[in-house]
């Protein structure tokens, strides 16, 4: 029931925000503002337009990076999952990428690509792509053989087997990979703004901290988390409309 899940979402938000407010009032730390102070700062930032110009900056590497990671990641994942040769060739790269400590790679990226958009897009992709590729490949590899066999016995071409059986069967895991990848992409975007050059939201965070304007700092952090949650919900909607059967569970026997 959508209503019930909405109620639960609102309820959990209220609990988290109240806890934040209380923690801010105790206060846990002098650098920890209350929820209301932070919201107040957020409203100010929105009104004076700082928030919008910040996002105009931050969203560039984020959007480009996520778009590249999603399309290239799913395409590569399909390929890796379908061909053992490709698996052998590419899987290790993404496993290493997933395990690599990103902060250590940033200086290398900056050396190679400078401090502009390119480096930031790379950071987003390094964060987002591996999980998308590996999830997609794993899901494709684990398509139940009985389904692909059924397709072949009813004369499906290879292309139809991929389109009508493998992709729908893999789509729940592909989408969970996308969710994880996109969350990681958000982290990557902020990380790149904190570690490469302070721009956009990263700049607000760094600058507010340096002048001890903690409500603004938390407001900026809150806004990016809020945006990420909004985006993930949108993704869920897309999945539900694209693959209506996915919410219906699986039968294998």
């Amino acid at each position: 029931m959508p209503n019930r899940s909405l109620v639960l979402k609102v309820l959990s938000a209220v609990i988290v925000f109240s806890a934040w407010e209380i923690a801010g009032r105790i206060p846990v730390s002098y650098a920890f503002p209350t929820f209301l102070e932070s919201m107040n700062a957020l409203v100010h930032m929105t009104i004076d337009g700082r928030l919008f110009s910040a996002y105009a900056e931050t969203l560039q590497p984020l959007a480009v990076g996520i778009a590249i990671s999603a399309t290239l990641g799913i395409a590569l994942g399909l390929w890796i999952g379908l061909s053992s040769w490709f698996d052998w060739l590419f899987s290790p790269i993404f496993i290493v990428m997933q395990a690599a400590p990103l902060a250590a790679l940033i200086p290398l990226l900056v050396m190679a690509y400078g401090i502009g958009l390119t480096s930031k897009v790379f950071v987003v992709c390094i964060m987002a792509m591996p999980v998308i590729v590996l999830n997609t490949a794993g899901a494709v590899r684990n398509t139940p053989t009985s389904l692909t066999e059924m397709g072949r016995s009813f004369l499906a071409s290879d292309y139809e087997v991929i389109l009508k059986i493998i992709i729908p069967a893999a789509s729940p895991v592909i989408f969970s990979g996308l969710r994880l990848g996109i969350s990681a992409g958000f982290i990557g975007a902020i990380l790149s703004e904190l570690k490469i050059t302070p721009t956009g939201i990263g700049d607000i965070i760094t600058y507010s901290r340096s002048i001890a304007d903690y409500p603004s700092m938390y407001a900026a952090i809150f806004s990016i988390i809020f945006l990420a949650v909004l985006f993930l919900n949108l993704l869920e909607k897309i999945e539900a409309t694209l693959f209506a059967g996915n919410v219906r569970g699986y039968v294998s026997d």
């Binding site: 066999e149 016995s153 009813f154 004369l155």
Partner: protein, 268 residues
Amino acid sequence: MDMSPTRKNVVEASGFKVENAVSTRKISKNYGPVEALRNLSLDFPKGQLTSLLGPSGCGKTTLLKIIAGLLEPTSGEVEVNGRAVTGPGPDRAFVFQDFALLPWASVLRNVAFGLELRGVAKSEREAVAEKYIRDVGLAGFEKNYPHELSGGMRQRVGLARALAVDSEVLLMDEPFSAVDEQTRRKFQEDLLNLVQTENKTFIFVTHSIEEAVYVSDQIAILLPRPSRVSEIIRPAGFRSKGAENIRRDLEYLDIVDRIWASLRTYVE
């Protein structure tokens, strides 16, 4: 050979095979070190129902998949209507032991899936699918998804899907294993009707001796791995006696006993 219809009918009625829809020649199949089939040769007469009966794991599914063109035999060959099988074809349809339904598709789409892959227009294929859904007794469940059905109902979806493509040879891997006894008996009768009315060749895997004897024109008893045909039995006398009387017929009971006697050695 004289192939005029009258002559053909006469010959068939007297129990001789005229043509084979499917023949397997010296089929062997190894899964790595596991030898599933060895030198298995068997003919499946056109328009008749042949059962494969044998202990679990003896290679019945393997043989069926080789005939379907889904598996390559390690050696030997399969002919369907005189042509060597190199892969799946429109002349054969498969009912899978594990149903193999698309979990994200409704009953209607699942049943129409074979026709969808053959490029039949949506409205046309759905009309055909609806007919077969009714035939297997699932009318009213067209919009349901597989996980909302019981095991027996899922099995019937798989059956309807195979019937819907209207191919000459039906490969049925334990198609009634998950339905209840009443439905099973009804299906057995329906199957006998299908064999009589449609000029299709049925290859039917079952674990039930009674079922095999009841529905078959020919029963092939398979030995355990590596599998060969140990015996071919052709029940002849009681087919014309009507559905209710068969189970009491002496020949029927005799054959059931005989098969049990030859299979029980592998159970013990």
